[in-house]
Symmetry: C2
Subunit: 121 residues, 2 copies
Amino acid sequence: MSASAQKHDVFQAIADPTRREVLKLLSERELPISEITSHFSISRTAIAKHLKILSEAELVSGRKEGREKIYRLHPEPLSELKQFYDQFWSNRLSVLKHIVETGGENSGLKLIPSETEKKEP
Amino acid sequence: MSASAQKHDVFQAIADPTRREVLKLLSERELPISEITSHFSISRTAIAKHLKILSEAELVSGRKEGREKIYRLHPEPLSELKQFYDQFWSNRLSVLKHIVETGGENSGLKLIPSETEKKEP
DNA sequence: ATTATATAAAACCTTTTGGTTTCATGTCAA
DNA sequence: TTGACATGAAACCAAAAGGTTTTATATAAT
């Protein structure tokens, strides 16, 4: 097992709000399709398709138990999100550049006076 | 400024690989459309559309300078990604649950023997 | 054996996406 | 003022997304 052709990647998988909701549901406990469906206003078939996409992205897996299929979350691939995020926001020169260039506006970070400067006003 | 109707959100914006590449490019320095286009094999028009989507998600902004339009990155909204990621992976009971239930397989985390147990074999 | 549940699979439909090509417009350079 | 850029905007297209409905199948419960 290794190189999977992966028709759907994590980024695509989480692009849809319904799919994000499903993941949230499954983060609490594993659930059969029917129960997942009950949380939404769309058809069971539609949910099944969403689950298929999520499982292609390896974010969930389903096992059949009796007549129902029970899905469980596999949060691992979400680390790609963090990676992507970090590419722009963590320990990166570009962030410093951004802050310097903009003076920190809108950066979510601020250039603040040092401790020593702040104390004793 | 506040409630923006936001036709495209961050998740949708980064769903497309080309768009992710564009963001990467812009993380180095701001660039005019033509130059961005030169990094891809698709038309300038297509790139312009991608930029529109990115700017609807407020991930980039463009200013017109002379005859060219220069785009710059606005990484702030990407924090939504981290938020989403953290929802599943950080400081969450569900993570512990997941680890306990699976014994840590595929979790990216492991249950290892404590220091004292490990020492002196 | 019969019926109700839970899902699977297929066919179909509409809207959105990701592209293209074509034409118009503003700006810089000769 | 005449081109040569750099874009903007519109029309058009094929394929993918997100749904629905219908039909079939396996399993549980009576």
